[in-house]
Symmetry: C2
Subunit: 337 residues, 2 copies
C-alpha cells in the first residue's frame, strides 16, 4: 500500500525516458494538442515499454474538475431487473470515459443519504439515484453542490434535476382498465415492501384509480413485510385467498410475485384465467416458461439505464436535455387475465 515499488513509474519517468518534459508527455497521453507526431510516438513507446499506468487520482486532483466518477444508487444489487439497468448505465457511461461507483440503499432514504455523503467525497461528475424519495438532507447536499443528478426508475415530474423513469401510476391504471375490460370485478392485490413503499405502491394506486372509474375498489389487499419475490407471491396469494375466497383476479406488485401467485392458484386446482386472473408487471424472463403467457407490463430496463446515462452525460456537458423522460412501457395482454 505504501510507497514501495508499486506503481513506481510515473509520468516524469516516462517523460525523461522519452526526452521530453512531463507536460509534453501529459499532452500526448491526453491527446491534447501541442506535440509533433515524432514526439507522440516516442512518448507512447516509453509508456508501453515502462508499463506506465495513468494515475486518475492525480489527474483529477491536478485539474480543477470533478472526477470521472458517477455515483449510482440501486435498491439492491441482487435484483436482476435493476441489475439490467446497472449493466446498461455502466456500459453507456464507460463508453464516455466515466466509471460508476454503485451503492445500494434497500429502499431506505436514510441509507441513500449516507451513501450520497460518502460518494460526494469522491467529487463525482454526477449521480444517478433510484430511491423513490430522498431525505431533506440528501436534497440539500445535492443542491448545495450543484451536482448533476438523474433520478431513475420512478418518474418524478418535478425532479431535483433530471428524471428518467417509468410512469408506474399509468402502468397500474392501464392494467386496471384492462382487467376490468376482461370482465373482472372482485379484484385483489398482492404486494411487498410494506415497510418501504416504492413504485409498486404507485402502480397499485394507478390500478385503484382505474377501478374507481368503474365504481370498484380492491376487494382485498395483502402487502407483505418482505422483499418481492416468487415465494412471497406464493404465500401472499395463499393468505389473500384465505381472507377473500371469491376473488376473480389478482394484481401483483411484479412478475416474480405474479408467478408465485400463479403457482399457488395452480396448486389449488384453480383454472387461470377462468377461475382467477393473474396480472404482473415487468415481463421478467422467468415468465417465459409458464404454460400460459402472463398478462403483464413490458418494460425495458436496458432502455431506462441507457437513457439515464445519456441524459446525465448531456447535463454534465452542459448540453440541452429534457428534465423529464418517460421510458415507455407496454401492456402485454397474455392470457392469464
Amino acid at each position: 500500500m505504501s510507497k514501495d515499488n508499486r506503481f513506481k513509474i510515473n509520468l516524469l519517468e516516462v517523460a525523461k525516458a522519452a526526452g521530453v518534459s512531463k507536460m509534453t508527455a501529459s499532452r500526448v497521453l491526453r491527446n491534447a494538442s501541442g506535440f509533433s507526431q515524432a514526439t507522440r510516438e516516442r512518448v507512447l513507446r516509453e509508456v508501453e515499454r515502462l508499463g506506465y499506468v495513468p494515475n486518475r487520482i492525480a489527474a483529477t486532483f491536478g485539474s480543477d474538475e470533478t472526477s470521472t466518477i458517477i455515483g449510482v444508487s440501486a435498491p439492491y444489487l441482487s435484483s436482476s431487473l435493476f441489475g439490467a439497468v446497472l449493466d446498461a448505465t455502466n456500459l453507456a457511461l464507460a463508453k464516455f470515459g466515466y466509471q460508476t461507483m454503485i451503492g445500494s440503499h434497500e429502499n431506505r432514504p436514510e441509507t441513500e443519504e449516507m451513501w450520497v455523503r460518502n460518494i460526494l467525497s469522491w467529487r463525482p461528475a454526477g449521480l444517478i439515484l433510484s430511491a423513490h424519495q430522498h431525505t431533506r438532507a440528501t436534497r440539500e447536499l445535492i443542491k448545495q453542490h450543484g451536482i448533476p443528478v438523474a433520478e431513475i426508475w420512478n418518474l418524478n415530474t418535478s425532479p431535483l434535476d433530471l428524471s428518467i423513469g417509468f410512469n408506474h401510476a399509468d402502468c397500474g391504471f392501464e392494467m386496471g382498465q384492462y382487467v376490468i375490460g376482461r370482465g373482472h370485478t372482485r379484484i385483489g392485490y398482492v404486494g411487498a415492501d410494506a415497510d418501504a413503499p416504492g413504485p409498486g405502491a404507485l402502480r397499485r394506486q394507478g390500478f385503484e384509480a382505474a377501478l374507481a372509474t368503474a365504481g370498484l375498489k380492491f376487494a382485498a389487499i395483502e402487502v407483505l413485510n418482505d422483499r418481492p419475490g416468487f415465494y412471497p407471491g406464493f404465500y401472499g396469494t395463499e393468505t389473500l385467498l384465505h381472507r377473500a375466497k371469491t376473488l376473480d383476479c389478482i394484481y401483483y406488485q411484479d412478475d416474480a410475485m405474479a408467478i408465485g401467485g400463479y403457482y399457488y392458484c395452480k396448486s389449488q386446482g384453480l383454472s387461470i384465467p377462468s377461475d382467477i386472473g393473474i396480472a404482473g408487471w415487468g415481463n421478467i424472463e422467468a415468465a417465459s416458461v409458464l404454460p400460459q403467457r402472463l398478462t403483464t407490463t413490458i418494460i425495458s430496463t436496458e432502455a431506462l439505464g441507457r437513457a439515464a446515462a445519456i441524459a446525465l452525460i448531456k447535463r454534465i456537458r452542459g448540453e440541452p436535455v429534457d428534465d423529464v423522460t418517460i421510458t415507455p412501457t407496454r401492456l402485454a395482454p397474455g392470457n392469464t387475465v
Copy 2:
C-alpha cells in the same frame, strides 16, 4: 464541473474558521492524535456549519497510499445470483471504509483485462475478480503492481493471490453420484455459454467424472450459445429430447435452466422424476414455487461475497489469510431426481 462554487469549502476554510492550522483540522477529521478535546469540538463545529465535504481524491493523493477503492468484476450485473455476491461484498467492504468500483466482463477475459487496466488507474487497494480465467496481460498487470487480488466464484487452487469460491467440480461430482444412486443411467446435460465456458463447464466435468466411476457417459449434451436462463433451459431441453428420446435424467448448468427444463418436460406430459429426472445448481428463489422441490446444490452467494471481502481486507492490511477458501455447498435432494 470547473472551479465554480461547487465544493468551494476546503479544509483550509474550516481550519481558518476554527482558528487552527490546516494540519490540525486534518488530524481531527482523521481522528489521528495530536489535538485537544476543545480543538476537536471547534473544528467539528465549523465542519458542520460550513458543510465541509471531505475530499477523498485529495486525501488519497496527499498520502502516498493507494485509494480506498476496491475494484470488483462481475460477469453481469443482471444476474441475481451474482448480484447477491456484490451486495455482500459491498456491504462488508463499506463497513471497513472501502468503496467498490464494479465492472462486468461478460465472461470474456479480454473484457476483464480492459477493465483491470482502467481500474488500476484509480490506484485501488485491491481487486476482486470473477472471470474464470484471465488473460496473460491481466495476470502480468496484477503481478507487476503487486496489488492484492481475490479471485472469486470459481475456486482456484493456485490463485494469483487469494481464491474464494465454490468447488464446482465437486458440486458436479456429488450430483453425479446422487443421480446414479437414484438409478438413472441415460443421463443428459443442458448448459449455456458455449462461447465462453465458465464454472458451469467444471460442474459438467465433475458430473462426468462421477458417471465415469460407474462406467457411464453423458448420453447427450446440449450446450447453447446463449446466456443461461429459464427459456434457454426450456428450449435446450426440447432440442436435447428430440435428439435423445430415451433420457431418464438431465443435469442442468443451473437452476434457471433446470426450471425451464422442468416446464418443458411437464408440457410434454412427462412425470418427474419417474419419466425423467431434473437436477440443477444454485438453489435460486424461483424454484421455491415449483410443485416439487428441485434437486439442486445449495450455495450461499452471501457467504461467498462476505468471505471474499474479509479475506481481501486482511490481505490488504497484511494480516495472515488462507490463500484458498472453499465456500461450502450442499446437495439438496429435493424430489425431482
